[in-house]
Structure formats: C-alpha cells, structure tokens
C-alpha cells in the first residue's frame, strides 16, 4: 500500500487491485496504485494525465512532486501539448485547481486506495496487456479503467454497443432485448451504459441469455446510479460481465461525465446500435463517437413522427455514408459480419419452456404479452376470460419476474423479453 508523507509516496503493502501484470507491463505495483489515485482526480483527463506523465516520467513521480511545498505550482505549469483534441484550455497548461486537487489526492492516497479495495475494483491501466485493444485504439483512451467484475469481458471476440433513450417505448425495449439476446447467443458481448430504458433492457436481456455484458457508467463506482439498476448491476457482474468507469470511485455524475463516458462505450465495441433516440439524445453522441472512432454505427429507424425515434432518423440523414440502418435483426447480424457464427440461437424455445413452466393460465397470458397485448382490456379480449382471472394470472407472472408494467401497460420481462412472437404464434392455443 501507498503511504504518502512529506517525502512523497513510499511503498508499504501489496498493491491494490493487483492482477498478474503481464511481462510487457512496465507499471509496477506501486506505479499502478499511483495511477489509480491520479486517474481519480477531478478535472484531470487523459490529456492532462498524458502531459504530466511525459514531463515527470511516472505516476509516482507526479505524486511525489505534488506533495512538495511548491509542487502544485510547478505541476500547474505543465504544458498540455496538442489541445486540438478537445480539452482546450486558455492557459494551455494544467489548471491550478487541478494541480491543487492532485496535491490533495496525494495526501489522501491511502484512503483512496483503501476505498478502491473495499469496493472490490480492479485497476486496468493502458500499459497493461489486458487493457482492451479496441479501447486503446481510440483517440484519448482513458489511462485507467476502474473495473468491477471480470476485465476479460472487455476482450470478447466481438462486442456490440446497444444504446438508446431512457424514455424508451415498450417496442424499443423489446427490440433492444432481442438484439442483445441474439448477439450474446452468437458469442458477442453487449456494451451499454446501465441507464434506465434501452440500456437497461439490453443489459438485462444479455444477462438473461447467459451472456457477457459490459456497462460503462458515467460516475464513480461508489455512487450507485441509477438506483433502480443496482440489482441489474450485480447480476451483470455475477454473469461474468463488468461495470467499468474511468472516474474515481467517488466522482458524482454530472452533465459532462456522460458524453465523455459515451466515447468509452463506442470504443469498447466493434459497432454501435442505437435503438431509440429522440432528438438530441445522448445515444446520438455515442453514435457520433463510433463514427469518429471508425467503428460501425447502426440505427433502428422508427415511424415518421414517432418522437422516440426522431433522433435516429435525423442522424441517418445527417451521416448518409457512415450511419447504417437496421433493417431487421437477422440483417443486422449479417451486417455485423456475425452471420457465420449463426448457430441455433435457442432462445425462443427457452422462452416457450418458461411459458409452459408457469402454469396454464399465466402461460397463456404470458404468450399474449409476447404477442403484443399490453393492457388488461386487450388481454381480456384476447382470452375471453373474466377480468379477475386475467389479473390473477398476470400477478403470478409479475411475481415470477416475467411481466412488468406501469400505468396499465404491460410487457414481457425476464426470459420472455426475447421470446420470438413469430414462433409463439405457431403454437396451438390452449384453454386453461
């Protein structure tokens, strides 16, 4: 562990988040700790970090400098080099506020490392062999990733980002879920941002289909955001996926952190799929990053005038050469070059098994939900049952986590999210 005194940081204990450093790694254990502390400094982005590293040679040296009396002043003089990349500062150097923050971080290094340890985070630096190659290839990759879960999940043979609006429609959620389920069945991993709406539907479906999924969050790991997804986050890690952030454990989410985070979502993936995005949606920022990073970018078109898809349509119009359209899930898989891996996805049959497992009446109602009946009135009309029986059966589906609904509109959940309506429609209908 790192102790920081007047003489600077000194090594004490085993390093935090130590993983087997590869032979190629030049970051020794203490140096890794130093990076973990520095990356968590508010306001110090990849550009500043890079400039300081090239001036001082190592993270330890930066921390040591920060703890000397005039250290912060000297740190503040560091020129930023090429500022065209985005972090334009008028003084063209590391800001004084940031330098002071580095000094503070150096003082509290022990506590920060203890916090990281307690949260169970793994530190992956850009110099590590297991830093995801896809991410290393982008402009301004984060120097440090704080990872909860298995960092190997970022190395899937192919990875696809599925993003979209937080205010998703039921249809949008269903599409996101089915794309995610089909992709993980093909061995791809699903990258998204853990937000409610499309992101959550994609993650949840990937987990349900026993696949790996990576969630890139826009805050530190110490801050659960959104709270509604704390259980989903746990299930992602449990299923062998990871929650990833470039921000220190206690950095609050803010207006700026999410767009910055989006470059990591697209950077971790070979391609980005936007399912639903209203005008000026954050998902479109991710799509722009994907194009900028030379990755493929797909958008699910919506009906003209549908607000939830307006952003997708305008993006397709704006980037006719980069942005591609999702013409169907098999077509998407084909376009992604994954069609060769197409085995028997097997997912819909699993959904059918689930339906026959819950009992006759709930099974029938579950099937109707998959077929798109959303309200109690519609379910009663479809089954011809008394309303009391429909409600009782729906309650049991809710209890099993196979249906969720708000404001009187219900949709399949759990294993039913990626059930294929076309296959269910062929099944003979039974009466309870």
């Amino acid at each position: 562990m790192l102790g920081v005194g007047s003489t600077g940081p000194v090594a004490t204990d085993a390093p935090v988040g130590s993983r087997q450093p590869s032979s190629r790694s030049v970051a020794a254990a203490d140096e890794r700790d130093a990076w973990a502390v520095l990356a968590g400094v508010r306001g110090l982005g990849p550009v500043g970090f890079g400039a300081l590293l090239s001036r001082y040679g190592s993270g330890l040296a930066i921390l040591r400098e920060a703890t000397t009396p005039d250290g912060p002043a000297r740190l503040a003089g560091t020129p930023l080099g090429d500022v065209d990349t985005g972090e334009a500062r008028r003084d063209r150097g590391v800001a004084h506020a940031v330098a002071t923050a580095i000094a503070e971080a150096a003082q509290n290094a022990g506590a920060t490392l203890e916090r990281i340890r307690r949260l169970g985070l793994v530190i992956v630096t850009i110099e590590d062999a297991d830093y995801p190659a896809r991410l290393a290839a982008i402009e301004m990759p984060p120097h440090v990733l704080y990872v909860l879960g298995d960092p190997a999940s970022m190395h899937a043979r192919s990875a696809v980002a599925i993003v979209g609006t937080r205010r998703a429609t039921d249809a949008g959620r269903a599409i996101a879920a089915r794309i995610a389920a089909d992709l993980v069945a093909l061995g791809a991993s699903v990258v998204s941002g853990l937000a409610v709406g499309i992101d959550g539907a994609a993650h949840a479906a990937a987990v349900r289909a026993h696949g790996t999924t990576v969630a890139v969050i826009g805050s530190g790991h110490g801050i659960v955001h959104p709270r509604a997804h704390s259980r989903l986050a746990a299930s992602i890690v449990e299923a062998g996926g990871a929650i990833v952030s470039e921000l220190g454990p206690d950095v609050e989410p803010s207006r700026g952190t999410f767009p910055r985070r989006n470059r990591i979502i697209s950077g971790l993936a070979d391609a980005t799929v936007v399912v639903e995005a209203p005008a000026r949606s954050g998902a479109l920022i991710t799509a722009s990053w994907a194009l900028e990073q030379g990755r493929e970018c797909f958008l699910v078109p919506g009906a003209l005038g549908a607000p939830a898809s307006a952003g997708c349509l305008s993006f397709l119009r704006e980037f006719p050469h980069g942005a591609r359209i999702v013409a169907g899930i098999p077509q998407l898989i084909d376009d992604l070059g994954l069609a060769d891996h197409l085995a028997e996805p097997g997912v819909p049959s699993e959904a059918a098994a689930t339906l026959s497992d819950v009992g006759e009446a709930p099974g029938r109602i579950g099937r109707e939900l998959v077929l798109g009946r959303a309200t109690v009135d519609e379910l009663v009309a479809a089954t011809g049952w008394p309303v009391a029986s429909v409600l009782a059966a729906l309650t049991l589906l809710e209890r099993r986590g196979l249906a969720v609904g708000v404001h009187g509109r219900f949709r399949p959940a759990g294993d039913l999210v990626f059930a294929d309506p076309a296959k269910l429609r062929q099944r003979p209908r039974r009466r309870p």
Binding site: R167, T169, A228, H229, A374, D377, V387, V404, V406, H407
Partner: protein, 526 residues
C-alpha cells in the same frame, strides 16, 4: 314585563335549547342582546325591528333587553329571530297569551316573513330530548322538523301567523298551506332562490350509470371490490381515461343507508344548511371537493364549527380528484379521521366532534404532464419525475388506499363498438350482497376496517393458502401493511364470489391492486 320563549341554536351538529328572555321596561328606548351572542345574532336587532313594523305590529319605544340563556353558551345564527320578536310582542303586551312550552325556531326577514335556518332537524331533536312537545318552524322546514318523532310541529310563513299560533295555544292550521301573503310573495321567492344557490350541495350533477364506462375492465372490477369492502381506491390514468366518470357512478352503486346511518347523514346535511329537507337521506353522500379546498373546509371548523367535507361525506364517499394537487396539510389532516371515523375540532372555548366515516376514492394523473402510459404519446416529464409524482401519495394515505388501479386510455373502438357493459342495476346488487356478507360476520364491519386479529379470523386461511400469501408478499416487498392489504382485499373478492374461505386465486387477484410505485420500481429494474 318579562316574557320567556323557548328556542334553539346550532352547535356543530348538535342543537342546543336556548331560552329567549325578553324584558320590555320603561326607560330610554334601546335594544340590547346579552348572553354571548355573535355578530349575526347582534344583527338580529335590525331584523326583528323591521319585521315587527312591517308585519303590522308596534316596535315598542322602550328599553328592550334580551337575555339568551344559558348565558355561558356561545350562540350564533339567526334561528332565534322569531323567538325574540315574539318575546317583544309578549313583553310589550301586544300579545297576551303566553307561549307555554311551544318553541319557536326561525329567521325573520325585514318584511316579517319567517325563513328556515340550517340545522332544524338537530335543533328540534334536542327540544324533544329536553321534554318540549311543540315547535313552530318556518313552513318550508316543517317536513324536516317532523323527522323527529313525537313532536307536534307547526309551520308558519309570517310573524303574524306565529302570533296566531300563540293566541290559539295550539296547532291551528296545517303546514304546507298554499296560502301566502301576496305582498311578500315575490320577495319571498327571490330570497329562496338566492339561498338555494348559495347552499346548493356541490354534487348537484346527475349520477351516470356504470354502463357508460366502456372498456376499463380492470377499473370497473376494482371499483366493485372497493365499494363491496369499503376499501380506499386510487385511480391512476391520463386525462380523458374516464377516472372522474367512473367515480361519479359510485352513488348509483351503493346500497341505501340503514336508519341510523340515514339519520346521521340527514342531521349533517341539515346542519350544513342543505335543507330544508323533507325526508331522511337514504342515499350515501358523495363529496368531491376541488383540490384547492382549504384545511377548514375539508376538516370542518370556522367560527360556527361548521362540518367540513369529510363530515359531509360521512357514511358515503369522499372523492379527491387530482390527489397530488391537494395541499399537503389538507391530506395529512385526513389521517386521524380515517383511523377513528370521526374528527375532533377545538376552537377557543369550544370543541366538538363530527362523524367522518367516509370511504376514500381518489384519482390522479400518472405524471405531471399526464401522458405516461399512453400509447399514442410519450411522457414529456424528465426521468424519475413520474416516480416522484406518485410518491407524493405518502404515508398514512398510502396505507389507507387498498386498491391502486391503472386506467390507460381506452381505444376508440371500445368506446363506440362492442356490447353494452354491465350497468349499475347489475353491479349494485352484487355490491350490496357482498357488504351484507361482510357486515354479517364478526366484527360486523366492512372489510376495509379489518386489521390484525380480526382480519386473520375473517380470512381463516388454510396452510396452503397461507403459503400463497407469503409468496405474494414478495411483490409488496414483504411489508406487514402490504400483506394485510392483500388479505383485506382478498376477503372482499371472496365475498363477491360468495366464498366463505379465501382461496389462492382470490389472493392472486388481490395482490394485483398494489401501489403503483412498487410496480414502477420493478419495471425500471427489469
């Protein structure tokens, strides 16, 4: 000379016997009222003076002192006008026969006409309790006064007729006499109209039939259960989904009140000035105060300790449309009445208790913009705002709402097409039958009032069914209150089905009606 005329005033919902003592003595002409009379009563001097003159009597140019006994009782209103005027006539010996044990209740117009006052029923009732057997009231209020058994009631339209009553010493003419004094006729009508508009019950709108509610099967079912068990009901749906229409069908679905309940309701209506009433009110009241209602108007109070909306809804339904828009303190104030079935009001020097056994029915939009959950238009609220909006239904109120019903917008086809759904004439008797079953079982209350031991006894669950309760409680996050909610509602569902014991499918359905925020959280997590 001294004259004593019995009369009565209103104190909250109770009448109080007041003896009007009038002394007409030599001295400087004047008119003094003593005995804790409030402003309206002090103004009685002018009404009495005008009425005496215009009815053809003499206003004695002498020193008039009116004492209202008992002296320590605060008195208000205009019910003593008639007694004071008669006291002056007796005291100045324009009328020589005494009133004996006949009480007089009525307000006077300047023309000498006798008008009815709020609360005739409770006032006459107290006279009867205090041993008086004869009362004279305004002709319009005779039917109301006659609701009190054993009272000899006469109606008068003018001060002159009242004097005739004294002179005769007994009832001389019957009540609803068509004879009116032409001179006052026009003015009398005018005054009746103005009174009518000012005191008209707020729910003067007609009651729609349940068959007018198309689609919304979940809500129709929920309403039936809520009314059968007396359960608190919350309807959540976008504007135009029919929440208010559904709520307005309630008066046509509830069974008529029994004698005791009808008497309470009638007394409240009388005291609130909804009279004159002609018969006992057997229809359960339905009150729908606007969301800008003040604390005092909701709970009761004011200078005359008037009953509030919750008392006016006693034995019936209090409907709160746009629930989150009500002032927080107004909603908080519902807590104690909902627990106790009555509300205690204390003002400086006075305190009273009003009944408030109402069933709460509320409605709200799913979110501030109102479009969450509609298929045709997405909600324009920022994320989490709908959730917070629903959380505004907090604490005590949340626990008292046993059924939460979502009302999505109905497809146009359901409104124009299909067969007619069941009407009030079909559903009403089912509700009445279930209520009878519930009240016929110990402890004799509607199911909404069951808790703890009484609830468990009423449900009488077998072991297998108990297991189902535990299974379903997960949906409510296993809170004790959530479990009780399921059991209470399941009991009512079983009553509607005619089942003595609560079965598993009753519980399944009961768990359906849980609070919307629980469902919202589950949907976001999944």
């Amino acid at each position: 000379m001294l004259a004593i005329v019995p009369s009565a005033t209103l104190h909250g919902l109770d009448g109080r016997l007041v003896r009007v003592e009038v002394d007409v003595a030599p001295g400087l002409p004047g008119f003094t009222i003593v005995g804790l009379a409030d402003t309206a009563l002090q103004e009685a001097r002018e009404r009495v003076r005008g009425a005496l003159r215009n009815a053809g009597f003499q206003y004695p140019p002498r020193r008039i002192t009116v004492n209202l006994a008992p002296a320590d009782l605060r008195k208000g209103g205009a019910s003593l006008d008639l007694a004071m005027a008669l006291g002056i006539l007796l005291g100045s010996e324009q009328v020589r026969a005494g009133p004996g044990r006949t009480a007089f209740i009525g307000e006077l117009s300047l023309g000498g006409e006798v008008r009815s006052v709020p609360g005739v029923l409770p006032m006459v009732a107290v006279l009867a309790r205090r041993g008086l057997r004869r009362v004279v009231v305004a002709a319009a209020a005779v039917d109301e006064a006659r609701l009190v058994e054993g009272m000899d009631v006469s109606g008068v339209e003018t001060l002159g007729e009242a004097v005739d009553q004294i002179r005769a010493g007994r009832r001389r003419r019957d009540v609803a006499s068509p004879r009116r004094i032409e001179l006052f006729d026009a003015r009398a009508k005018g005054s009746d109209v103005s009174r009518g508009s000012a005191r008209e019950a707020p729910d003067g709108r007609p009651t729609p039939d349940l068959s007018e509610v198309r689609g919304q099967l979940e809500a129709r079912r929920g309403l039936e259960i809520a009314l059968a068990g007396g359960h608190g009901l919350l309807l959540i749906g976008p504007p135009g989904s029919g929440k208010t229409l559904l709520a307005r069908t309630i008066p046509g679905l509830l069974p008529p009140l029994d004698d005791a309940a009808a008497l309470t309701v009638t007394v409240v209506a009388s005291a609130a000035g909804e009279g004159p009433l002609s018969e006992l009110r057997r229809r359960p009241p339905f009150r729908s105060p606007h969301h800008t209602v003040s604390y005092a108007a909701m709970v009761g109070g004011g200078p005359h300790l008037s009953p509030g909306e919750i008392t006016l809804a006693d034995q019936g339904v209090l409907f709160l449309d746009e629930l989150p828009e009500f002032a927080r303190d107004v909603l908080e104030a519902l807590r104690q009445p909902m627990e106790d079935g009555r509300v205690a009001i204390a003002r400086a020097g006075r305190a009273t208790t009003f009944p408030a056994r109402f069933q709460l029915v509320a409605a709200m939009n799913p979110c501030p913009c109102g479009f969450a959950g509609t298929s045709e238009r997405p909600c324009a609220c920022p994320p989490r705002v709908p959730e917070r909006y629903q959380r505004r239904v907090s604490g005590p109120l949340r626990d008292r709402l046993d059924l939460w019903i979502a009302m999505p917008r109905v497809a146009p086809l359901a409104i124009v097409g299909g067969s007619d759904p069941e009407g009030s004439a079909v559903v009403g008797p089912r509700i009445a039958a279930a209520r009878k079953v519930a009240t016929g079982r110990p402890p004799g209350t509607l199911n909404a009032r069951l808790t703890g031991r009484t609830l468990r006894a009423a449900c009488n669950l077998t072991r297998a069914v108990q297991h189902r309760v535990v299974h379903l409680a997960e949906l409510e996050r296993a809170s004790g209150r959530g479990t009780e909610r399921i059991l209470r509602v399941a009991r009512t569902i079983a009553d509607l089905a005619g089942d003595g014991t609560v079965r598993e499918d009753h519980l399944d359905e009961a768990a359906w009606y849980r609070p919307a925020d629980i469902r919202l959280a589950a949907a976001e997590a999944g």
